[in-house]
């Protein structure tokens, strides 16, 4: 972070050094994977103050503003890949950059993800550690709720995120009063 940035952070809420960012549109079936995993994390774990959960939806380049000033960022997103629906894939640091240089679509949202990371690097070097936890979607048609395959993967993905955070020195611990997460877009009940 440059002195310029530090000086200008005098007001408002400080930026947590670690962000877990869920990306995706919850109205488009399995595209809601990222936000759903965040709901599972919030319902089942207590996170340290150093971690911020952000349900970013489909932010386009607004994503860049969420990355600046972070030490580590973990994206959770649907990933366009040839593997079977529900397969979880992880991309770390340089792998993400390499995939983007080759113009392989790591995620349906990556035109923005690539540029946002590039902008963050220009501003303050960008986050030192980046991890993307993705699930291959079955359907991204208009509709509420995840497919069975991606729903099963989302619980596992939440555990992967919790482990990764522990590896970054920000271990969450399971809530003793944990309740099953049922976000309003899950399609269960009437919204």
């Amino acid at each position: 972070m440059s002195p310029h940035q530090r000086e200008h952070r005098s007001h408002g809420e400080a930026v947590a050094p670690i962000a877990v960012i869920g990306i995706g549109n919850v109205l488009l079936g399995d595209d809601g994977f990222g936000p759903t995993v965040l709901e599972i994390l919030a319902a089942g774990w207590v996170l340290p103050d150093t971690v911020e959960l952000i349900d970013a939806g489909t932010p386009g380049l607004d994503l860049a503003g969420l990355l600046c000033g972070r030490e580590a960022v973990l994206f959770v997103d649907a990933v366009a890949a040839p593997e079977a629906p529900g397969t979880l894939l992880q991309y770390r640091d340089q792998q993400i950059a390499e995939a983007l240089t080759l113009q392989v679509r790591v995620s349906p949202h990556d035109p923005a993800l690539a540029e946002a990371l590039a902008i963050a690097r220009l501003v303050d070097g960008g986050p030192e550690r980046v991890l993307l936890v993705g699930a291959v979607p079955q359907s991204v048609e208009v509709g509420l709720g995840l497919s069975e395959a991606v729903k099963a993967a989302s619980a596992e993905a939440a555990a992967i995120v919790a482990n990764a955070l522990a590896g970054w020195g920000a271990a969450p611990h399971r809530r003793t009063d944990a309740v099953a997460s049922s976000p309003w877009w899950s399609g269960e009940g009437d919204g």
Binding site: P59, D62, A80, R105, A118, G143, W185
Partner: protein
Amino acid sequence: MTRISIDPITRIEGHLRIDAVVEGGKVEEAWASCGMWRGIEPILLGRDPREAWFFTQRFCGVCTTVHAIASVRAVEDALKLEVPLNAQLIRNLILIAHGLHDHIVHFYHLSALDWIDVTTIPKADPATAAKIAQSLSDWPHNSAQEMAAVQKRVVGLVESGQLGIFANGYWGHSAMKLPPEVSLLALAHYLQALEYQRKANQVVGILGGKTPHIQNLTVGGVMNAINLDSQAAMNMDRLYMMKDLLSEVISFVNDVYLPDACAIAGFYPEWFEIGSGVKDYLAVPDLPTDSASTAFDLPGGTILGGDLASVHPITGSRDPYFRDAVVEDVTHAWYRGKGAKAPFVGETIPDYTDFQDDGKYSWVKAPRFQGKPMQVGPLSSILVAYAQKHESTVKWTDLALGRVSAIAKQPVTIHHMHSTMGRYVARAVRCAVLGEHALRHWQLLVGNIAKGDSSVCNPPTFPKGRIEGMGFHEAPRGTLSHWIVAEDGKIANYQAVVPTTWNASPRDEGGARGPYEASLLGTPVADATKPLELLRTVHSFDPCMACACHTLDASGNPIATVNVA
């Protein structure tokens, strides 16, 4: 004759495709098309109108709050339900903060690289860049050291060979004319802008409880508890934190964004002669200052044929001049049938053909006002307000045009605003106008609370039978309207007529082109394989196809393709 096809064109995700026929170095014909089906509204059918805003704010990930506000306003309009003054003002502050955020992001992060050639920055003299920046304003972060530090980072990026990740960068193009020093100072501000758009967003978060998806709305008002003595509620600490944040963002807008927009406009005066297109303008009034939404701080209305004297005001959501004049035409859109329907009886039944130049070629419907295509967006809202002698708008517009004229060394007047560059200047002017109103509405809110008014919501009750409502909002990209029909308290029809639908509309039954299409006619194209000029005009509208039609392409195709036939 050369045909250019750019797909996708936006820097925000979305499948906007532009086709243009170039003859003799100029665009002779153009088509704007969206390649993804927009069909989110059916999710709302049968639901409780009170929860519609929760869904509509997920239409688009960039303009979340605007769809939330338009939705609750539509339901309140259907119920003829007034909202407490505190709720109006809190909503207004959210809308203003979102607008400040959005305009800053558009100028720097979504479109500046159409005008700045990053590859010239290593050649710039940082001391000269600082001197130029200091001549534009007394912003404290324009030092030679700051410029040198930014230059060093750009050199690193250029040397690493990773410049390609900035999509649509037509480096070395003959239409790039900014001196390296101006490019450097603009890029320095591009990096600083991240911090200020974030501050604007924090205001949305303080009031909305969460951002980007706010939580505090409810049909009939807001759910913010107001109690100046409670740590858990809207208290003086939070109000002052918000004021500080807004003040910092306003300084950035007035001392950085507006001067930069004027400077870039001054170096590209030829772009005040390009890209006018549809000169019929539409804007709705916004920032209501009373419970019944009959008085507004920002005026709305129409201007026809580019004649400011033709201005006709729109007085509110019940004004038939707007309410009865809007239809959506599907003749050239991939929906069943042809001709136009009013939104209350609108249908969204897909009928995909392939791309047919003279037939159907887009998933975007063609909204029309009294049968005409209308341009919407900051230029419309500024011209409509200027024509009605809106004090703040006149002040900032005249100031901006004076600055542009001084840098261009030629007179640039309100009549030059019907252009690609006019849209850029208008957006910066609107941002300054919004900033001024941010502080005014903050004062109104604090004043009203100080009088002892802490009410925030009038609970709704739904009658048996059929009701119709329309809620509008003058969003960052222009006029947004949500149209709802409810029967026995359940949603029976829901249509969102969004700004990008107005601007990116295809032709209608009578063959009239939409604003993007019309604005491209006559645009010079130096190199058909690098159609930078087309991008400049389309980006001047700030396209956001996400709510018109969301994109999800899992095909592994390259990020953008330009085909020249």
